[in-house]
Amino acid sequence: MAVIEVKAVSKTYHDPASGRETRTLENVSLSAADNDFLVLLGPSGCGKSTLLNIVAGLVPHDERGGEVLVHSRRVTGPNPKRMAYMFQDPVLYPWRTVLKNVEFGLEAQRIAKQERRARAMKYLQMVGLESFADYYPRQLSGGMCQRVALCRALALETDIVLMDEPFGALDEQSRIILGDELVEIWRKVRRTIVFVTHSLTEAVYLGQRIVVFTARPGRIKAEIRNDLSRPRSIGTPEFNRMIDTLWSHLKEESLLALEREKSTREQVVLPKE
């Protein structure tokens, strides 16, 4: 059964200063089933992050036509009881300890203190940070901060987790290790994950279903099932074949995006992501 349904959604950004319009998404439809690990892959500026923000209810889509349904209900705003959202940056509050940062989302839901603590510690244990509960974010490395952010998202115990290039700012080794941890957790606790990335390797390494986007305005170019057995290893022939398949879809789109970036750099109106 589809947990997330995106039906014919478009998104246009208006720049009030210049009056110009930029269409970032065009008639996108997709769905994610229960326990899916869906990867959205596309060239830069293709609107994949925008789509994730629309699903999360952080950004409204164009009024005409489309709609987004989560558990068959229209999305009208952030819904932290159903969907957890993870940003590219960890976004930890420097005045809160690791534990209090993880609890932050639960505080909004008025969950009792003991229950909050227990849940936060459970996920901190899962990523091996339980002994850092009383540290402050500035005492942690980038990878550790991103693990804390992951805990904060998972502690909401929603069945949907939306992730916007969550490991994009990390070095490659931390990326792989965190990816492993994420897959491990995903297999342990049944969640539907929608994961935005522009890394082919990451897409193949993590994804169960990979949706490839076109250059702006983003449309769905291909949808590929990835049934490689887990744990996956980078560089095996099957792995590389998968990457080749993705690249064959993506290559011309990436070139197009790059070309356009060069020629119309100052005319493009895109929100900060």
Partner: protein, 248 residues
Amino acid sequence: MSPALARMALVLGVLLVWEAFSRFTSVSPILIAPPSEVLWQIVRIVSTHGSVPDFYSNLWVTLAELLAAYAVTASLGVLVGFLFAGSKLIGDAFEPVLLVLYAIPKIILYPLIVLVLGIGMFPKIVFGVMVGIFVVIFNTAAGLRQVEPTYISLARSLGYGKWKIFFSVVIPAAAPTILAGLRLGFGYTILGIITAELLVVNAGLGFLIDWASFNYYTPQLYALIIITLCIGVIGNGLFSVLERRWVR
């Protein structure tokens, strides 16, 4: 050697050289008083056995002016800072005006203030506020504006409403900058009050300092300057305690 020890050693060294210099050279005692004498004067002044007239009533005048001025500086400064950061219209309309006012030397307005408000405590309080309030306003507004937009998106994605975001995200995120402004504003307010007292000399620590200087009571002058400095140091210490408790 710890930094605190190094600092102590330097201070002690300076005091020793100063003492020796004032005792064993022929420099006039009107210019330099030996530290031991100054210390003795502080003790005499504080225990009201010295030659300084009405020390405590004058101290009280200065403290009362300072407290009144700082109460206004802190509350009004933070309030205006919030208005500037909260409303783009208000900020755009009035912040440039305040920046110009901030840039002019406030001291040139003091004769006007005295003319209008007289020579009591009130004009000194007003002048203290004028000198102290700007940095509080600008720091408050800057602190609030500099809150990372992602801090707010995150809270929104977690279901926090406008007011909850304001109190549990915006305020703690801006607190360090606001507190720094309040700390600087305190120093400037003291500066304003003492300056005002030195210009219209009728009461307060400024009055005593002027009296000691005018009569060539050099050890008393040094002692009074140090006592005045102590107010600033104590105030600064209080802010350090606050910052350690609230700011991470």
